[in-house]
Symmetry: none
Subunit: 226 residues, 4 copies
DNA sequence: TATGAATGAGTTTTCATTCAT
DNA sequence: AATGAATGAAAACTCATTCAT
C-alpha cells in the first residue's frame, strides 16, 4: 500500500525561483480560482475539465480537491467570487451624493462598462442559468449582497420622484432588469448575434453608441413627462 | 420547440390498423428531434447525454446516429429547427400594412410573447453562445433567414421617420438588440435573477407589466422629440 | 440503460475460437459474477479492485458497469447469488420423509459440508457483516428465502418432540445458530485460529472429527432426557 | 478496546494547571490507538481511512505516522492490544481451584460474556481473518499467549476425566473451538443473521437464553455417559 | 430499419504518505 | 513534538460511438 516515495523534490527553504513562497495556501487557492474562472467561463460546468484546470495551475489536481472538495465545489467558489466582485464595486459608487438623474446615468454607465469589460462574469452567469441557478442558490452571502443594489436603486428612484424628475410607477428591480438586460445581452449573446447579423454587438465600434443608447433609453423612460 | 409537437405520438413498432408502414422515418426523426430539443435545452450540449435522449425516444440510440450522425449533428439539427421557427413566425407578421408606431408596438409584443412562451429557444440560444455560436454558424440557411428581420425593421423605421414620428439616428440592428435583450434576459436569466432578488422575472405576475414596460420604453426612445 | 433481455437468448451465428458465443449477455453476466465472487471474497468490498475484476473477465470494465451499475451493485449481485445457492440446496434436502433424529443428523451434516466446501460463501458472509449487512438487506428475495429454512427446522423439531425424542424448549432459530456457528467458525476464523494454535481447524485432518463432533453435540443437546 | 478507555481525556495542546508537560507521548499514543481501534473495527483495514482516524484524534496525521509508521503498523498495534486484553483476562480466571464441571461452566461463561461485551474485538478478529491473519502472525507475543489457554483447557479436561465426569476423547482445542464458535458467531454474524431472520441474535433478549444454551450443550457433550 | 451488447479512451475522485514550517 | 499543505499513483466511474444480430 505504500505509494509515491521515490524522490523528494526538496525545494529551498522558503521561496521559489520567481520569489513565490512555496507554502502559501492563499496564493494556491487564488491561483486555482483564477484558472478555474477562465475554464468554467470558457467551457461551462459540464464542458470544463478538472485535468485541464489543474494543468494550467501552479499546483496539482489534488490541491483542487483539497481546497474545494469537488469540481462542483470549485465552480461554486468561482461563482461566488465573481458575483462578489461586481457587487463590491457597485457599493463603491457613491450615488447618494449625486443629483438623481446624474446618479442614474452613472449607475447605467457603470453597469454597461462592467459587463463590457468582464465577459467571464457574463458567461458564468449564463452558464449558471443553464443550471437553473442551483449552485449560486447555495451561496450564503449571495442574497444578502444583492439586497444592497436594490436599496441603491430604490433610493435613487425615490430621490428622483421627490425632485419631480422621475415617474413614480417604476419598480426598482424592473428598472435594474431593463438596464442589465441590454448590458448583458450585447455581451452574452454576441456570438449568435454576430452569426446572425454579421457584426459583433459588443465590439469596440458599437461600444460608445450602445452606451449612449441605453443611458438615453432609460432616462427617457424614467422622465416624468417623457 | 416545434409547432406541432404538443403530444409526440409513439413511433409504431408494429403494424397499425391496416396496410400502413411498419416504420415511419419522418416520424422517427421528428420524435428524436423533439426529445433532443428538450434535453439539449435542459442540459446544454456537454451536459446532455446521448443515452438519456435515446432512452426517452421511441426508438434506439442507433437510429439517432443513423439519422443525425453524431451528438453534435443532432444538436445542430435542433438549433436549426428552433431558429427556423421564430424567423418563420416573424415573417408572418405583416407589419408593412400597419401604421409605423403600431407596427413597432406589434413587433415588440411579438418578440416579447415569443420569448416568454418559448423558453427552450431562449435556453438553446444561450447554450449556443457558450459555444461561441460555432454550430449555428455552420447552418446554411441561418444568415439568410436573419436578413429578413433586419429588412423588416429597416422598413419600419424608415416609414416612421418619413412620417415624422421616429428619430432618424437609430440603427435597425441596434433597435432589434434593445428589444430582444429585455425579452430574452427576463427569461434566460430568470434563475439567477430569481435567486438574487427572490422573484421570477418571467413569472405570470410580471408578464403584463414587463410587456408594457418594454413597449413603452422603446416607443419613448424612438419618438422624434422624446 | 436497458438491461437483461428477458427473452431472445441471441442466435448463435458467430462463435469465438473456443466455441463461446460472442454476443451472449447471460454468459457475460455470469462470467463477471464468477470472477467478482472470487475477488470480493478474497479482498473484501473495499479491498477488491474493479480493475482487477475486469482484467480477469472475458470482457471489459465497462460491461461490469453496464450490467451491475457500480462496484457496490456488483457486490450485491454476488451476495444474492451466493446466498441463493445455499438456500436452494437446503430446500432439496427432503428432511420431511426421514425420522426426526435422522433428519437432524442429515441437516447438520449438510450444513457442515456446505461450509466446509464453500469458503467463498463463508468469507462473503463475514465481509457482509463487516458492512453491517447493509447490502444484503436491500435484497428483495433474501428474507423470503430464509424463512424456508426456519420452517424446515421448526417441522423437524416438532416431529421430534411429538415422537418423544426431542426436548420441547428449543427455539428453531437458536438451534440453527448453534449448528451454523460451529460450521461457520472453523472455516471463517481458520486463519487466526491457525495462527494462534498452529493448526488449521478446517483442514482435512480435522474434518471428519469435527463433523462427528457437531452432530454428536447437537443431538445430545436435543435429546429429551440427555 | 482497552480497559481504561472509557473516556479518552484530551491530549493537552497547551500547558495544564502547573508545571506539567505540554505534550504527553504516551497519552497521545493511547488516544490514537483508541480511535484506530474503533475505526478499523467499524470499517475494516481497507475500508478505514487514515484521514478519518486522524480527524477524530486529539493530534494530527503526522503523529500517527510518527508513532506507528504506517496505516498497517497502526492496524497491527490495534490487533495486538485487543488480543492481549482477552488473553490477560483468561489468565486471571483461576479455574484450577474449582471443581472441573464448575470450572468448565465458568470458562464458557467467561468466553460468552467477553464476546458479548467486546464487539470491537469480534469485528477485528473477523477482519483479520479476511486478511488471512497475515498481520497477527507477525506478532511475537501472540502465539505464546495462546498456548496458555490451551494448557488451561487441557488441565480442566484432565481433571474432569480423572474424576470420572468427562469423556476422555475430546481434544482441548476442539473444545475451545466449539465454545468460541457459538459465542463469536452470535456477535460477529449478528447483522446477516438479523437481516435473515428479523432478530438480532446478540440482542439483550437472547443473551441469557444463549448463555445457558451453550453452557448446557457443552456440558452435555462432555459428560461421560451423556 | 431496428436493437441490445459491447468498447476504449477519458474523467472525476480518493488515498496513504511526505514536506516545509 | 506538532501541524497544515502538498503530492503521485491509482481507483471508480462515464461517455460517445460502433458492432453483431
Amino acid at each position: 500500500m505504500k505509494k509515491g516515495s521515490k524522490a523528494a523534490p526538496a525545494a529551498p527553504s522558503s521561496t521559489t525561483a520567481e520569489g513565490r513562497r512555496k507554502y502559501d495556501p492563499e496564493e494556491t487557492k487564488r491561483n486555482i480560482l483564477d484558472i478555474a474562472t477562465q475554464e468554467f467561463s470558457a467551457m461551462g460546468l459540464a464542458g470544463a475539465r478538472v485535468d485541464a484546470i489543474a494543468e494550467r495551475t501552479n499546483t496539482t489536481k489534488r490541491m483542487l480537491y483539497y481546497y474545494f472538495g469537488s469540481k462542483e465545489g470549485l465552480y461554486e467558489a468561482v461563482l461566488e467570487q465573481v458575483y462578489g466582485d461586481i457587487r463590491a464595486l457597485e457599493q463603491e459608487l457613491q450615488l447618494a451624493e449625486m443629483d438623481p438623474e446624474e446618479a442614474l446615468r452613472e449607475f447605467i454607465g457603470f453597469t454597461f462598462d462592467y459587463h463590457d469589460k468582464h465577459r467571464d462574469f457574463v458567461r458564468l452567469v449564463t452558464i449558471e442559468n443553464i443550471h437553473a441557478a442551483k449552485y449560486i442558490e447555495q451561496s450564503k452571502t449571495f442574497k444578502a449582497r444583492n439586497s444592497t443594489v436594490v436599496k441603491t436603486i430604490e433610493d435613487l428612484i425615490a430621490r428622483g420622484v421627490a425632485a419631480g424628475k422621475f415617474r413614480d410607477d417604476v419598480d426598482p428591480i424592473d428598472l435594474h432588469l431593463m438596464i442589465s438586460s441590454f448590458c448583458f445581452h450585447r455581451v452574452g449573446n454576441r456570438h449568435t448575434w454576430g452569426a446572425a447579423f454579421g457584426r459583433d454587438p459588443s465590439g469596440p465600434r458599437a461600444r460608445a453608441r450602445h452606451r449612449e443608447m441605453i443611458v438615453d433609453a432609460v432616462l427617457r423612460y424614467m422622465r416624468r413627462d417623457g
